[in-house]
């Protein structure tokens, strides 16, 4: 087949792909459905680069709900999340689920990351007992930190981190115009796939984790979290 014919074939296929349509009560199984999924995926990626308005204290104070800022470092994405669900951890603490408008979620056990949902290759669950103890008691308690990540052929894969918690001191941090007295806890971990450092800036009075940088596994990477409005 000559190059002219090849181009004709390609053009015919693309034209048909774009012109294809389907309907009914059930999902279709032919090429039209495939093209629809591919096009929707393309459109979703096109919207990812939209510009954000500036983040100001006035803007934050006008929001009617609690808000946290989330940064996915590996994907250079910044967004806002709000509380979705809360339950007791059974030990005078809280497990809170936060989500964004697209219903991607993170779950924090007393401010410590234990799950992500809707991010792709998510953190399914985690063992963070010693980290939560450190946050609650504002002192360094070292211990295992295990991440159970999903993805990779739908299996839950354990990533065992051997961690050493350290108190780096009491400092004052500012989050968009609000200051907080915090204890800076730093958790240095090693694992078979490299080293990880998690940081927690914890309120020196009520153990609120105002700010943190936590690793959610190889799929999601590091998350930076800041409580903008409690």
């Amino acid at each position: 087949m000559g190059i002219t014919n090849s181009i004709k074939v390609f053009s015919a296929i693309v034209t048909l792909l774009l012109a294809a349509c389907s309907g009914g009560t059930e999902e279709t199984t032919s090429f039209t459905g495939i093209s629809a999924v591919l096009l929707s995926s393309f459109q979703a990626k096109q919207t990812a680069g939209a510009k954000k308005p500036p983040l100001t204290r006035k803007f934050i104070d006008n929001l009617p709900v609690s808000v946290m800022e989330i940064v996915l470092e590996s994907r250079n994405i910044t967004g806002l999340i709000s509380p979705y669900a809360s339950r007791s951890d059974g030990q005078n603490g809280k497990i809170n689920t936060w989500r964004n408008a697209a219903n991607s979620q993170i779950v924090l056990d007393n401010g410590v990351l234990i799950a992500t949902r809707g991010a792709g290759n998510d953190l399914g669950s985690a063992l963070v007992t010693s980290v939560v103890e450190s946050v609650k008691k504002l002192k360094a308690i070292s211990g295992p930190h295990v991440l159970y990540v999903s993805g990779f052929d739908n299996q839950s894969t354990a990533i065992k981190l051997e961690c050493k918690m350290e108190v780096l001191g009491q400092i004052r941090i500012e989050i968009v115009g609000h200051s907080h007295n915090v204890i800076h806890l730093q958790e240095d971990c090693i694992s078979s796939i490299g080293s990880v450092t998690n940081d927690y800036w914890v309120d020196s009075v009520d153990s609120t984790v105002w700010q943190s940088r936590q690793w959610a596994g190889p799929g999601v990477g590091y998350l930076k979290l800041r409580v903008l409005k409690k």
Binding site: L17, A50, R75, A101, S125, S156
Partner: protein, 724 residues
């Protein structure tokens, strides 16, 4: 799409500001490169598309499940290879090679086309001191042009002599073609029998016989991007030299490679003292989705108050209410609609509720179980302790998954939460239908779908054209007018293509498949299929199907099937009987005179880690008797790669070129590429050569593939996502 997201934002948050911010985060969707090699020490490919140096193999295996595509060219020889790391130690390769001006060419062209298979086994894995050691069979069942065997070892040295990068050192011994230069004797046998026959049969009598010769080389991966290679080859290229398509002056080859992106590598080489060559290497792993599967987060589980603090909420009188099942269907159905899960039936008792559900979008049935269980925990009265979730597909109850409500409430945030839930789950057979008292929504039928779009039909390995293709427009419809009853049909109109140019090869058997080109020539507009089928469950572990109509391009008739496949068993047994007639070439409604009763008894076995084996024994379309053996590796995300062969009572001489029917196939789920839930797949069945022996009729909606996604083996493979 944009409007949908905007409305969703407003509905859920009523906060324009949040939506604005969220639009930049989208759904936190991840961009990830499709092709990924694990590390700088991962093996690169040689000119045969296998782990190796330049023209010589190396001793390493690829990462488990890795797929490698290789395209090399030098001295008028083009090799296209498909390799699959079937298990951590086993590598299989299919190769299609074109040698210009060799052996008189094929199919009236100047290029000689050759198909070959390789098999490699990793005997020793690399350790601190121990090199990796591999034994390989090259072109072990073809026409023998590349026939060779080898034992080869490779050792990696990180930052050798203080230099940057990684050095691989390879040394090996070869037989056959890989001993045609520099032989050091014949330690395992004096003479190597010459190849005879029609090809396709394993040439075991040749393996490791005759002269043996050493080979070796080095590969220095200087940086993430650049690698250098040098080797000593023991291949004299005797046949090619005789045909004057290569002027061999040296046994030393040199090359440089550049990694364009992860998993995509290009190389340029100087071979045999006279030739310039190029090699393109692509590697990816089905375990690493091109775009991670992504589903918007679930609704939170609502935890009941304890019975001690709130005994009144545990009352059971609700179960007596006539409207209870329909109310449950409405409220839970509304929640599940977001993820495309539909409720087919509801049955209630004070402590137990059964929902029969199916999903149009989600292949992963563990997610279906998780989402349904969450909604049940959110909505059902507190007295309900057990959720029975019956997974349905095309009105067939695949399994019943019973989940303890207490576990849904308590295990989600435990470490290793998916495994923590499993002890509270029982997977078993489901009754064919719910109890008579079950509430069945009245608006379920008819279900239908229609589709107008393009089609692309490929055929391979015509001696004159390696790939032929037809493209055009296709109209299809599926009408599910009652439980288990389907009418399906597909009409195609070819706009462009060259499949009708394929020659019709002669056959000693009835021409049950080799007349395919006559069908391509007879009509541009044709009825691809049109059938009516009924499928049902005669008992808890059996499934049945009857289909009448035009099944495929060449055959129509009556087909019946019975499958025994308990939900918690890796073993399945099936029988299928068909009476079929050969369709007219124009593929309208007429038939030709040829008819036959054909059928098979089938054994299916799902090994650990989803290696699937299938044996079908019976009578084939040409009246030959025999068995088809099929082995594949299926990934939980839906990828499947495998091979098959059929041996029947037809002799190799009557079968013709290739000696017996064989081929390989792959199936890739669309959501692997897009990350968006979809049950659609793309795939291709590739026969090495199309003959008439060992051919089966293609019947739509065979049972095994309809029911296994909801059964224990596949559910457990998917279970890591149950909380998503």
């Amino acid at each position: 799409m944009t409007e949908f997201f905007a409305a969703d934002c407003l509905k859920r948050f009523a906060l324009i500001a949040l939506c604005t911010f969220a639009s930049s985060s989208s759904s936190l969707a991840q961009e990830q490169t499709t092709f990924e090699i694990v590390s700088s020490t991962a093996p690169t490919l040689n000119f045969y598309g296998l782990p190796g140096i330049i023209d010589m193999p190396s001793g390493e295996a690829m990462q488990n499940a890795q797929v490698a595509l290789g395209f090399s060219h030098f001295a008028g020889t083009t090799r296209s290879s498909f390799s699959f790391q079937f298990s951590p130690r086993i590598t299989a390769t299919f190769r299609y090679s074109g040698l210009k001006d060799y052996n008189g060419g094929s199919g009236g062209t100047s290029t000689y086309w050759d198909r070959s298979f390789d098999f490699r086994y990793l005997l020793l894995k690399e350790k601190a001191i121990q090199p990796a050691l591999t034994v390989g069979l090259q072109d072990f069942a073809g026409t023998g042009i590349y026939s060779a065997e080898y034992l080869v070892m490779t050792k990696n040295f990180l930052q050798p002599f203080g230099l940057s990068g990684n050095l691989k050192v390879t040394a090996g011994l070869g037989w056959g073609r890989l001993s045609s230069y520099g032989s050091v004797g014949s330690p395992l046998g004096g003479t190597r029998p010459t190849w005879t026959g029609l090809g396709g049969e394993p040439s075991a009598d040749q393996w490791f016989r005759g002269p043996m010769a050493p080979f070796g080389g080095i590969e220095w991966q200087i940086s993430d991007k650049i690698g250098l290679k040098a080797e000593y080859s023991n291949d004299a290229y005797n046949a090619e030299t005789s045909a004057n398509i290569i002027d061999r002056k040296s046994q030393f080859n040199f090359g440089a490679e550049y990694e364009v992106s992860k998993g995509f590598r290009l190389g340029a080489y100087y071979l045999y003292g006279s030739e310039i060559g190029v090699n393109a290497q692509i590697q990816f792993n089905p375990n690493r989705p091109s775009t991670p599967f992504n589903l918007a987060g679930p609704r939170p589980v609502i935890v009941r108050p304890s019975r001690a603090t709130s005994p009144e909420s545990y009352g059971t009188s609700w179960a007596e209410l006539e409207d209870a099942p329909s109310d449950i269907q409405k409220v839970i159905g509304a929640e599940l609609e977001d993820v495309g899960i539909k409720i087919e039936a509801v049955s209630v008792s004070p402590n137990r509720v059964e929902l029969r559900v199916h999903s149009n979008d989600l292949t992963n049935q563990a997610i279906v179980v998780g989402r349904v269980a969450r909604s049940m925990a959110r909505i059902l009265p507190d007295s309900v302790e057990t959720f029975d979730i019956v997974l349905m597909n095309n009105s067939l109850a695949m399994s019943k998954v019973s989940v303890q409500r207490n576990a849904i409430e308590t295990q989600e945030f435990k470490p290793n939460a998916s495994a923590a839930l499993l002890p509270f789950v029982v997977i078993g057979d489901a009754d064919p239908s719910g109890p008579e008292s079950a509430f069945i929504p009245q608006d379920q039928f008819p279900r239908f779908s229609w589709d107008i779009g393009p089609f692309l039909a490929l055929s391979f390995f015509d001696p004159a054209k390696p790939i032929r293709a037809d493209a055009g427009i296709e109209v299809s419809g599926n009408f599910n007018f009652a439980p288990g009853w389907f009418i399906g049909g597909k009409v195609r109109h070819k706009l462009i293509g060259n499949s009708d140019k394929s020659p019709v090869s002669g056959s000693a058997l009835p021409a049950v498949r080799t007349e395919g080109p006559l069908y391509d020539q007879a009509a541009d507009t044709y009825l691809k299929n049109l059938y009516i089928s009924k499928q049902w469950k005669p008992s808890r572990a059996t499934y049945a199907r009857v289909t009448v109509g035009y099944f495929e391009q060449m055959y129509g008739g009556l087909s019946s099937e019975l499958l025994w496949q308990p939900a918690d068993s890796p073993l399945g047994l099936g029988v299928e009987a068909n009476y079929v007639k050969k369709r007219d070439y124009d593929q309208r409604l007429g038939f030709q005179d040829y008819d036959i009763v054909t059928g098979h008894a089938s054994v299916y076995y799902n090994f650990n880690e989803n290696y699937l084996a299938q044996v079908d024994a019976g009578r084939y379309l040409a009246g030959d008797y025999g068995a088809t053996f099929r082995l594949s590796r299926e990934f939980a995300n839906g990828w499947e790669i495998g091979g098959f062969f059929t041996k029947t009572d037809v002799s190799a001489a009557d079968f013709g070129e290739g000696s017996f029917d064989k081929g390989f196939f792959f199936k890739a789920p669309l959501d692997w590429f897009t990350g968006t839930p979809s049950k659609q797949t793309i795939g291709q069945n590739i026969r090495i050569i199309q003959r008439d022996g060992g051919q089966r009729v293609y019947v739509p909606k065979r049972l095994y593939n309809q029911v296994r996604s909801g059964q224990q083996n596949e559910l457990l493979a998917d279970w890591g996502r149950v909380w998503e």
